[in-house]
Symmetry: C2
Subunit: 163 residues, 2 copies
C-alpha cells in the first residue's frame, strides 16, 4: 500500500472514490471536523478496484497481452489521479489542511477497515454507498460493514440530493 | 413529544440513553462538532422505552393497578432524569453549549428517525448500540437502521473499550 507513512497524530480518514457522495463527505469533513483544527491531518484514502472489476477491457480476448495489462494499470492510475484531483478541488479552498494520500487496492470494505486499523485515526468519514463499480452490487454495504467493524467513530454522509 | 420547539438553526442531535456508549458519543460530539461552534444547538434526544419493556414490575399480577401504573410512569420519569443528569455532567464542562432536550417514547429507532426527519438537524450522533433494555435484543440495529434511513450525516460512536 502506498503512502502509509502517516504519523501518529490527530487525523481523520476520508474514504474517497469516484462518487459525488464521497466528495460531499469530504466537504462535510472539512467544514465540520477540520476547519477549526489546523493541526489535524486529513488522510484521503482511495481504494483502487481489483483489475477484474475494470470495465472497457476485453480480458477474455487479451488475457495475457502486455499491452492490455499496461492499459489496465494506466486506467487504474488515471482513476486515482482523477479522484485525487477532484478531492483537491474540494479541499484547496480550506486553509491549513494537512493532506496525506493513501492508495489501496482490493475490496473497498476490507481495505478501508484494514487501513483504519493500521492508521488508528480519530474518525473515519465516508459516503453511505458509492465505491465505483461495486456501487450497484453492494449498495450501502461498504459503509455498513465499516461502521460495524472499525473501532473509531464513523461518519456516514449521504448526498444531499439522495432521497 | 415533549420539547419539540427547536428552531430551524444549525443543530446537532445526539441520541442519549442509559449506556456509557451514548455518553461517550455525546462527549465526542462536544469535542469535535460543538466546541468550535458557539452558535450550534445541541439537541439531546432521549427515547423512553415503551412501558412493556420496563423491568422490575410484575404486570401479570397488578395489570390494572393504578399504583403500578403510577410507579411505572415514575420509573420512566426517573430514567429520563437520570440520563439527562448524566448528560449534563458531560456537557457542563463545555462553555456556551446551547442545549435543548427532546423526550420521545416508543421504539428507539423509529422515534430517532422521525425526530431527525422533523427537526432536520445538520448531524445525528449516536452510540453504535445501547438503547437500554433493547440492547441485547437489537444489538447494533438502532444505529444501523438510523444510518440507512435518515438523510443527514450520521456519526456512529463506539465505546473506546469495546472490542
Amino acid at each position: 500500500m502506498e503512502g502509509m507513512s502517516v504519523e501518529n497524530k490527530h487525523k481523520i480518514v476520508v474514504a474517497v472514490d469516484e462518487s459525488e457522495e464521497s466528495m460531499h463527505a469530504l466537504s462535510w469533513c472539512l467544514s465540520n471536523l477540520i476547519s477549526h483544527n489546523s493541526t489535524a491531518t486529513l488522510v484521503l484514502l482511495y481504494v483502487k478496484p481489483p483489475p477484474a472489476m475494470y470495465p472497457s477491457f476485453d480480458v477474455a480476448v487479451h488475457m495475457f497481452s502486455t499491452d492490455v495489462i499496461t492499459a489496465v494499470e494506466k486506467y487504474g492510475t488515471d482513476l486515482v489521479n482523477s479522484v485525487m484531483q477532484r478531492a483537491e478541488a474540494v479541499y484547496r479552498n480550506f486553509n491549513k489542511v494537512n493532506v496525506e494520500r493513501v492508495i489501496g487496492s482490493g475490496e473497498a470494505k476490507d481495505v478501508i477497515c484494514n487501513t483504519v486499523e493500521k492508521l488508528k485515526p480519530d474518525t473515519l468519514v465516508m459516503g453511505s454507498h458509492g465505491y465505483g463499480f461495486l456501487r450497484k452490487a453492494l449498495l450501502g454495504s461498504v459503509s455498513e460493514h465499516c461502521a460495524k467493524r472499525v473501532k473509531c467513530p464513523v461518519v456516514i454522509v449521504k448526498h444531499p440530493h439522495d432521497k
